[in-house]
């Protein structure tokens, strides 16, 4: 609790320092209750958000026999022999493959659009913006049914290919939004400097612009991969006989989801959290370094 009081103090100092004003007038004691009420609520809220995650990870260690519903004791067996459960590793592999390819397509196409939108004025600008916004405002079930109807009319058999096409489509808009923000925050003076130093347009792009955009592009690719990896609704409409991890889980839910699905999802979860934490710590360290440099 004292930590939160400290946070309040830091906050008070911050605003006070910014304004160069005398410290805040003392709060009424009624707000003293508010001071710990909010942090306490947030602790509970965050705990609530984590409940099903903890449940899923815990049950990946369950010594389950047929169904993974009741707790029967701790075992590492599910983790050590994940692929013993038929179909689950194949579905996982498909999910990885689809995620990587769809992310590749969406990232390349989306980055190009983001560059065009941020750097050029052209006639169909608002139309382009609308076309990029609409997929994000359309319910997945409509996108899924639409693509499935189109594949049906065109006589395209459903499979990994159709899933990749669908995933790259809905990831594209998210890539554009993410990368566009990065392009907009780019300092044009850096590119000017590159040109002043007689860099050819190609050199300026690959040695100045692209490295500066890279964090944004990587963030977009990560977002795109996680959207693709976890997508169920659109996938289910366009998967045909192929299973991804989500469609496998959905089908298995009728008879009981095997613990091996929990194992694979938990492993991905822990990996993703590690990546995000490392990224956050890295960004924090960089900010600190830059902060010192500018001071």
């Amino acid at each position: 609790m004292s930590g939160q009081n400290q946070a309040g103090l830091v906050l008070g100092q911050e605003t006070g320092a910014e304004l160069g004003e005398p410290p805040r007038r003392p709060r009424r004691w009624g707000l003293g209750a508010g001071r710990w009420l909010l942090p306490a609520y947030c602790a509970l809220a965050l705990a609530f958000l984590l409940v099903p995650i903890v449940y899923t990870i815990a049950f990946s260690f369950n010594d389950s026999v047929r169904t993974n519903i009741a707790w029967r004791g701790f075992t590492l067996d599910n983790w050590l022999n994940v692929c013993d459960e038929p179909g689950v590793c194949e579905a996982f592999g498909n999910s990885l493959l689809i995620g990587v390819v769809a992310t590749g397509i969406a990232t390349v196409l989306g980055t190009m659009i983001a560059l065009a939108l941020a750097r050029y004025r052209f006639r169909f600008r608002s139309g382009t913006n609308l076309l990029l916004f609409l997929p994000m405002a359309t319910p997945e079930v409509v996108i899924g049914a639409g693509l499935a109807a189109q594949f049906l009319t065109a006589g395209v058999p459903k499979g990994i290919g159709t899933i990749i096409v669908a995933h790259a489509m809905f990831c594209l808009s998210f890539v554009v939004v993410t990368v566009k923000a990065r392009v907009a925050s780019l300092d044009p003076a850096l590119e000017d400097a590159g040109r002043d130093l007689y860099g050819s347009p190609g050199q300026v792009f690959w040695r100045v612009t692209f490295p500066l955009l890279l964090p944004g592009i990587l963030a977009a690719a990560l977002l795109s991969f996680s959207l693709s990896f976890d997508d169920f609704i659109i996938t289910y409409f366009n998967s045909g006989p192929v299973n991804t991890l989500p469609t496998y889980i959905y089908t298995a839910a009728t008879r009981g989801i095997p613990a091996e699905a929990n194992v694979l999802s938990s492993a991905v979860f822990l990996l993703a959290i590690a990546v995000v934490l490392i990224g956050q710590v890295g960004a924090q360290a960089r900010r600190k370094r830059l902060g010192i440099a500018t001071r």
Binding site: V10, L46, I53, F133, P139, V141, T153, P246, A272, I273
Partner: protein
């Protein structure tokens, strides 16, 4: 691929003069592949959905459909599935309101109270988005187990007589709305956080200095300033929630009395192979959502969502 094309694009900036046409060509080259992709795999499918929605069963071949401008499909699905359509929007609305009430204090704490402590802030933010990293279906399945009749929640509620001895949680509308709310909380929280993180506290302070009580200051200063976050958060929750069919499906949290339009579209398309009905429902769903979103965005006065 066409990134080298952009390399050429930097040239106009150096030679400013008459390079406008060339830069236009570069912009086109950059846009074309992605836009073509969206036209082909987003817009064309929507059109083929419209076409499919106007088909009627073929008179010659069983199981085939012919295009006949059969507008009656729309009337038929509204008559047949009106209940599920209404329910979807009601559930989505409830889930959006609950998610907003749940997320606002959390986002406020992260964005305002923790401003001076960036490390704690980013760690807690990771916890907020943590559900993104584990399968949506497994999370929902986990809730199904937790809320099941043998689970702790039901037995506690029964012991407190809040739930009758014959009552269930899973399979009821309560469970579906609960699942929708839970699953979309991160979508609500993140935009709220980004808005509140930039909230200018000096304005709030000014409200206090003008003798506004905490409630008045919140209502007249903080809340209007957080509107952009509220609008994007509610849209990011409402739209997917209205079309969701995982929470409401009977393998997960739903039952027969809580079927949503997504379930109907899915079963018509993938099980009954009644493509025209599924397509008509999809078009109705999308049109209704676009109208609701349009009115909402206009009324809330934040039109710069793009």
């Amino acid at each position: 691929m066409a990134l080298p094309a952009f390399a050429g694009a930097s040239a106009p900036a150096t030679g400013r003069g008459g390079a406008a046409r060339r830069s236009g060509r570069v912009a086109l080259l950059l846009l074309l592949p992605g836009i073509a992709y969206l036209l082909l795999f987003f817009l064309a499918p929507l059109l083929s959905l419209v076409m499919t929605s106007l088909q009627s069963p073929s008179e010659t071949v069983f199981g085939q459909y012919d295009f006949t401008f059969n507008w009656a499909n729309y009337l038929q699905v509204v008559g047949q599935y009106g209940e599920q359509i209404g329910r979807s929007f009601l559930y989505a609305l409830l889930a959006t309101v609950f998610a907003l009430l749940f997320s606002y204090p959390l986002a406020y704490f992260l964005g305002v109270n923790l401003r001076g402590r960036p490390i704690l802030q980013s760690l807690l933010l990771v916890l907020v988005v943590a559900p993104f990293f584990i399968s949506f279906l497994l999370r929902t399945a986990a809730w199904k187990q937790i809320l099941s009749d043998e689970g702790l929640v039901v037995s506690t509620l029964k012991a407190l007589a809040l739930l009758g001895p014959q009552d269930h949680l899973t399979g009821t509308p309560i469970a579906v709305v609960f699942g929708l709310t839970y699953n979309f909380i991160p979508f609500m929280c993140l935009p709220l956080f980004t808005t509140l993180e930039r909230l200018d506290l000096r304005v709030v302070e000014a409200g206090r200095d003008l003798y506004g009580g905490p409630f008045t200051t919140f209502r007249t200063v903080t809340l209007p300033l957080s509107m952009p976050g509220i609008v994007s958060g509610t849209l990011l929750t409402f739209i997917p929630a209205a079309g969701d069919y995982v929470n409401a499906s009977s393998q997960f949290l739903g039952g027969t009395s809580s079927t949503m339009v997504g379930n109907v579209i899915q079963s018509n398309f993938l099980v009954q192979l009644n493509y025209p009905a599924a397509a008509a429902l999809s078009i109705l769903l999308m049109a209704t959502i676009l109208v609701i979103v349009g009115v909402y965005v206009r009324r809330s006065g934040t039109e710069d969502l793009l």
